[in-house]
């Protein structure tokens, strides 16, 4: 009897803690959603925690009007940057896992270091470089930046993925005289879908959410991705809070949807970020 009772008590404590943490994790989202659906007259500090007197999508439509061009910029940025960096990562990972040569490990380490540097340490030369090649302030410039600094993480994930494939396949193909690209195209690329899914989701999320490069590389509002536009919107004192909060939801929605529907792969990318030998 008493064993059953302590078991039940344990369950209650576990659920109590889980619910407690849930409320902590939900709180900012609760405020966000609540405020964004409030009509303008409800949005004052004294009624922050109150339910809206009526539901309004006014904040959303006005925020959307302001942010739509930047939302589009973000898609123009994220899609090519993600696809190019994933392709490069796949090729690099394949070579580093299956065609090891003298010094390939050192090269791998040198590539990986690039994902750990604080980007401040390259930021000013980067801006000067982009100015010199006439890509400063543009979405293509930002695509280039994200492709290059995405190489370490995409290489890492693909390298770890191809590492699990026995090298006998590659060795056999070598004997048959198949060249390095033929082996990739016929053996490795076709089995790469799971790794591509992880990498694409990871890069999509990270590039979408990124702020430092975006705010330094794009100075014209018309060329800014949505994170920078939201930052400007939210930093402005004159814009109503329901619009700011609606803007925050619009900014968060694409990555949140990816997380909701493809969370499993997102977590894989998350775990891949810690380097395995």
């Amino acid at each position: 009897m008493s064993i059953v009772k302590t078991k039940i008590n344990r369950q209650i404590i576990i659920y109590a803690l889980l619910v407690l943490f849930t409320s902590f994790f939900i709180l900012p989202m609760y405020i966000l959603v609540l405020t964004s659906f409030k009509p303008f007259q409800d949005v004052t500090v004294s009624t922050l925690w109150n339910w809206p007197t009526s539901l309004s999508t006014d904040g959303f439509s006005r925020a959307f009007k302001k942010l739509a061009p930047n939302l589009l910029n973000s898609f123009y940025l994220v899609i090519p940057a993600t696809l190019i960096s994933a392709t490069l990562g796949s090729l690099n990972g394949y070579v580093l896992a299956q065609w090891k040569f003298k010094g390939s490990k050192i090269l791998f380490a040198l590539i990986l270091f690039g994902m750990f540097i604080p980007y401040q340490s390259i930021l000013f030369p980067l801006v000067q470089f982009l100015q010199a090649i006439d890509l400063y302030g543009s979405i293509p410039g930002l695509i280039l930046v994200h492709v290059v600094y995405g190489i370490p993480i995409t290489t890492l994930i693909f390298r770890n993925y191809y590492y699990e494939v026995p090298t006998v396949l590659t060795e056999a193909a070598k004997v048959d005289g198949a060249n390095i690209l033929a082996v990739y195209r016929h053996i490795f690329f076709p089995i790469s879908l799971p790794a591509f899914v992880v990498v694409v989701i990871w890069q999509f999320t990270n590039i979408w959410n990124e702020f430092l490069f975006a705010v330094t590389v794009t100075s014209q509002p018309a060329n800014q991705p949505i994170t920078v536009a939201l930052s400007n919107l939210a930093g402005s004192q004159v814009i109503e809070w329901n619009i700011q909060m609606s803007g925050a939801i619009i900014t968060a929605l694409p990555t949140l949807l990816v997380y909701i529907f493809l969370g499993r792969y997102f977590i894989k990318g998350l775990l891949a970020g810690s380097v395995k030998g």
Partner: protein, 308 residues
């Protein structure tokens, strides 16, 4: 031998676009930043003239004497420390709770992880709102208002606008630390849950039969086995905290008396707002050294250890 060399060259050729890009964008630009940090490029005019007047360590000695930078270093130290302790502790607790396999566990797990998918720009905006203190005591905002409503007005304070400090720990950082922990404790949880799957049931069962308590099983078996994972999580979190630019920029900025300032913000303002390129570069180099001290031993360890 010849065949091997040929293969090596082909591999290298395939890698070369990425290697060249990394060589320029990572190592070349770092070298350039280091160079600028030894120049006198602290005005737009000097930048335009593009003359390389080396001024030795003077940018660094100026930084060393700069009260704002001193505050930044203390802030980084405390922010990193409390952020890591908080996210590791909460992450482990959540992982252990979910490891009990409660019904609906997957839903809870997803709730704890979703902040990782959201931009610091979004969360910074919301947390700024929540922690905005308002004018105390008459006109509280955000969380202070909630305290008033539930009769806990004594808990009201200035949050990120507070300028008090304790042992050089600016109390204003507490609000930023809470926001960062909120965003990242799911990371440790996910790492731990992945690790826990690898611990054989029999091991735990055997200990239980030998009469070990839950706490003993945790401290004597689970924690030591999870130590390498925890260490990885600490490295990643430390590195996140040094990169917390977007969160601080959007949540508080540098704050009154720089109470929530960090080197990343100072670097950004020095370089892109005040045209003090050399000062900005020297801050960047200090940041790089701090990260390097942490990351290089870690990278060398994980990449080269396995081979031998």
């Amino acid at each position: 031998m010849k065949q091997k060399t040929r293969e090596g060259l082909i591999s290298l050729a395939l890698l070369s676009p990425s290697l060249i890009a990394i060589a320029i964008f990572v190592y070349g630009f770092i070298a350039r930043t280091v160079q600028i940090s030894f120049l006198d490029w602290n005005s737009f005019l000097n930048l335009l003239q593009n003359q390389k007047n080396y001024v030795g360590w003077s940018n660094y000695s100026d930084l060393y004497a700069d009260p704002r930078f001193q505050t930044d270093l203390w802030n980084t130290l405390y922010f990193t420390l409390f952020f890591i302790i908080g996210s590791i502790a909460i992450g482990i607790l959540l992982a252990m709770l979910l490891n009990e396999k409660p019904r609906g566990g997957i839903i809870f797990q997803n709730i704890y992880l979703f902040p990782l998918a959201i931009s610091f720009v979004v969360t910074g905006t919301v947390w700024r709102w929540i922690f905005s203190p308002g004018t105390l005591p008459d006109n509280p905002y955000g969380i202070n208002l909630l305290f008033q409503k539930i009769g806990l007005s004594s808990l009201q304070w200035g949050w990120f606008t507070n300028t008090n400090s304790f042992l050089s720990f600016n109390l204003a950082l507490i609000a930023v630390i809470i926001a960062a922990i909120w965003q990242y404790s799911g990371y440790t949880m996910a790492m731990w849950l992945a690790g826990l799957k690898g611990i054989p049931e029999q091991l735990i069962e055997a200990a239980r039969i030998d009469g070990a308590t839950k706490w003993q099983i945790f401290t004597k078996i689970i924690f030591p086995l999870q130590f390498p994972i925890t260490l990885s999580a600490i490295i990643v979190l430390a590195h996140v905290s040094l990169k917390a630019f977007a969160l601080v920029y959007n949540m508080t900025g540098s704050g009154p008396n720089n109470v929530t300032d960090i080197p990343a913000i100072y670097m950004f303002e020095a370089t892109f707002r005040a045209n003090r390129y050399s000062t900005g570069s020297s801050i960047a180099v200090v940041m790089l050294l701090m990260v390097g001290l942490l990351i290089i031993p870690y990278l060398v360890n994980v990449i080269f250890k396995k081979e031998s």
